[in-house]
């Protein structure tokens, strides 16, 4: 039940309850004290009246003893009683059973008068009442209103009347209730004042106490809430981060697998490359040998062609000689023809001979020319052949050069392939290492994810506890912490709470802001 109220309210209630208890006690005491006071007053009055009665009794006994006459005794008694005062103003009176006033010290006009008709402003026939009481019990209290000395209007009064049966006197004395009331009121004014002061002080102190307790608690609640919020968000961040880390790690592992496979391929390719390069080298060497053989054969060919050329040149010289001979022979023939012409008739036959010789010379020259042409042709062919051989040689040289270059390049390829294979090996090792690390990362990410889950659970627990604290401080709200929250009931509860604890209304604002269960964060908690 207490859970309904805020802590500050409860502390305040403590003070208020104490004050109420005090008040209850005083309230209980009030009538008792009043009664006691009144009773004491009554008792005092009775005692006084009994004292006056004893005076009268003394005088009556005196009269009975014969020391004085009854009249004298009565007279003495009246005078004595008339003179008796107490409390400076209070007096005794005597009336008989008629009722008739026998002696009234104040209202002397009443002496000897019939009192049955006197009534107080309330309509009470007081003296009749006195007589009645005396008749009934012999003595008793009567309350009425009677003028008070020094005061114009009649005041409430209670008198004790005692019957003195020997003389049929009713002796009475009374106290003004207003005196008692004044006294009582004065006393209780003081009491009430003190009570009020105590109440105010108690309320104030308890309010201060409540505040001093609730405020720090509110601060703590605030901090705790903030802290647990931050923890929750941080743990959610950590969780998501480690989730993504785990995902990334698994992706990385997959990528590493792929890389590993690719590297395997690359390694095998490299090996193939190296093998091919070695083979190519081999082939190149063979080709080189072939080329060298071909070159040497070419050289032989060139040599023999050179020989042919030399022979041709020699032949050409000889043919040239023949040609010269033919020419000279021609000249000779012409000279012979000239001489024959000069000789005239005698040289006719000689002219014929000269002519024939000239023909022969021409034929020789012709033959020489043909031979020369043939030789030239041959020489040209040889030249062409030589050129072709030279070209072929050049081509072979180029081939040889290219082959050697290719051989060098292939050698480089082989060396590079070896290095590449080594490099691939190293990469493989590195990838294996990376794989290990990635595995570790994944495991660590898993661990951190679970740890953050734990942290989240703890944060949630902390929130629960904070909510318990809030419930303690704020009073119970119409919802449970873990259940989904509707805004309206919470708002209604807030309004109710605000109505219930007006003194701590300022209090109700701050904690309510802090308590999120009506707000987003309560729903956010549901995500976990």
């Amino acid at each position: 039940m207490l859970n309904k109220f805020k802590l500050s309210t409860r502390i305040l209630m403590l003070g208020v309850i104490i004050v109420i208890a005090f008040s209850a006690v005083f309230g209980w005491l009030y009538p008792k004290i009043k009664g006691n006071m009144y009773d004491a007053k009554y008792l005092k009055t009775r005692h006084l009246v009994e004292a006056a009665y004893s005076v009268a009794a003394h005088y009556a006994s005196q009269a009975e003893n014969g020391a004085m006459t009854q009249e004298a005794a009565q007279q003495q008694a009246q005078e004595t009683l008339q003179a008796m005062r107490y409390e400076s103003d209070d007096y005794f009176w005597i009336n008989d059973m008629t009722p008739r006033m026998i002696m009234h010290p104040m209202n002397t006009t009443l002496n000897g008068k019939d009192l049955s008709g006197i009534k107080d402003p309330n309509g009470k026939y007081l003296f009749n009442e006195f007589v009645a009481v005396c008749k009934k019990d012999g003595a008793g209290f009567v309350d009425y209103m009677w003028p008070k000395p020094g005061v114009d209007a009649p005041q409430p009064k209670i008198s004790y009347v005692k019957l003195f049966p020997q003389w049929n006197w009713v002796i009475g004395s009374g106290i003004y209730i207003d005196d008692v009331q004044k006294e009582f009121a004065g006393l209780f004014t003081v009491i009430f004042a003190v009570l009020a002061v105590i109440t105010v002080a108690a309320i104030a102190v308890s309010w201060l106490m409540a505040r001093s307790i609730a405020k720090p608690i509110d601060h703590i609640i605030q901090s705790l809430n903030t802290g647990s919020d931050e923890i929750a968000s941080a743990s959610s961040q950590v969780s998501s981060a480690s989730q993504s880390l785990a995902e990334g790690a698994s992706e990385q592992a997959a990528a590493i697998e792929e890389t590993s496979a690719s590297l395997e391929e690359m390694a095998s390719m490299t090996q193939q490359n190296a093998d091919n390069a070695a083979q190519a080298n081999h082939l190149m060497k063979d080709a080189n040998q072939v080329v060298q053989r071909a070159t040497s054969e070419m050289t032989d060919l060139t040599a023999s062609m050179g020989q042919i050329t030399t022979a041709s040149e020699e032949t050409q010289k000889i043919v040239k000689t023949i040609d010269e001979i033919a020419f000279q022979t021609n000249l000779l023939a012409l000279n012979a023809a000239v001489e024959a012409a000069r000789a005239g008739e005698a040289g006719a036959g000689f002219a014929v001979v000269a002519d024939e010789v000239r023909n022969l010379a021409i034929r020789a020259a012709e033959a020489a020319k043909n031979t020369s042409a043939l030789i030239e042709d041959t020489a040209k062919r040889v030249q062409d052949g030589s050129e072709l051989v030279a070209k072929a040689n050049g081509a072979f040289s180029e081939v040889a050069g290219s082959a050697s270059k290719v051989g060098d390049i292939v050698g480089e390829i082989a060396a590079a392939s070896t290095e590449q294979a080594q490099g691939v090996e190293q990469i493989n090792n590195a990838v294996t290492e990376m794989d290990k690390v990635v595995q570790q990362n994944a495991a660590t990410a898993e661990e951190s994810a679970s740890a953050s889950e734990e942290m989240n659970a703890q944060a949630e627990q902390m929130k629960h506890m904070v909510q318990g604290l809030v419930t303690l401080v704020e009073g119970q709200r119409s919802k449970s912490a873990a259940a989904p929250v509707k805004r309206k009931p919470a708002a209604a509860k807030r309004r109710v709470n605000k109505g219930a604890a007006p003194a701590a209304s300022s209090k109700s604002v701050a904690p309510e802001k802090l308590i999120p269960f009506g707000d987003n964060e309560g729903d956010a908690f549901q995500d976990f």
Partner: protein, 157 residues
């Protein structure tokens, strides 16, 4: 005129043209031999040669005819001709590109020389012989070589 032009001619080549001179004028044909140059002679007078002890002046017919000089080949010949000088017959050699043959030219094959088209002055040309489609220019060698300078050189020799 054409009657006297028939006979045997020695044909020779000069600058790819066939020329002919009367065979009776020709003394000897020899191949090219070293020529001793003589100073203060016209350009076409090459010099003199020693032919079996005899000193014979030589002139280059190409230069004589105003043709460009040519290098001497193995076919270049010197034709020694006998011409009538002032007093007696003199022998002069002429350098020709090549000697062809001795031809027997008939009268009907000879024609009058035209007055244009050749590089030779028409005084020197006896006529034109038409043999087998080829035209051979028949030279009057006397007129070609009769020259004050030449004669003087010949006399001096």
């Amino acid at each position: 005129m054409s009657d006297s032009l028939a006979g045997k001619y020695l044909t020779f080549i000069l600058d790819n043209e066939e020329y002919g001179i009367a065979l009776l004028k020709v003394k000897e044909i020899i191949g090219m031999m070293p020529i001793t140059t003589v100073p203060q002679t016209p350009e076409y007078v090459k010099g003199v040669i020693n032919l079996r002890g005899k000193v014979i002046p030589v002139s280059d017919l190409r230069l004589r005819f105003g043709m460009s000089a040519a290098d001497y080949t193995e076919r270049t010949c010197i034709i020694v001709v006998e011409i009538q000088g002032e007093a007696a017959t003199i022998q002069i050699g002429i350098v020709v590109d090549a000697v062809s043959e001795v031809m027997n030219i008939k009268a009907e094959e000879v024609e009058e020389a035209p007055s244009f088209g050749t590089k030779v002055e028409t005084d020197y040309i006896l006529g034109m012989a038409n043999m087998d489609g080829q035209v051979k220019i028949l030279l009057d060698i006397d007129r070609v070589l009769t020259d004050d300078a030449m004669a003087k050189v010949a006399h001096a020799a």
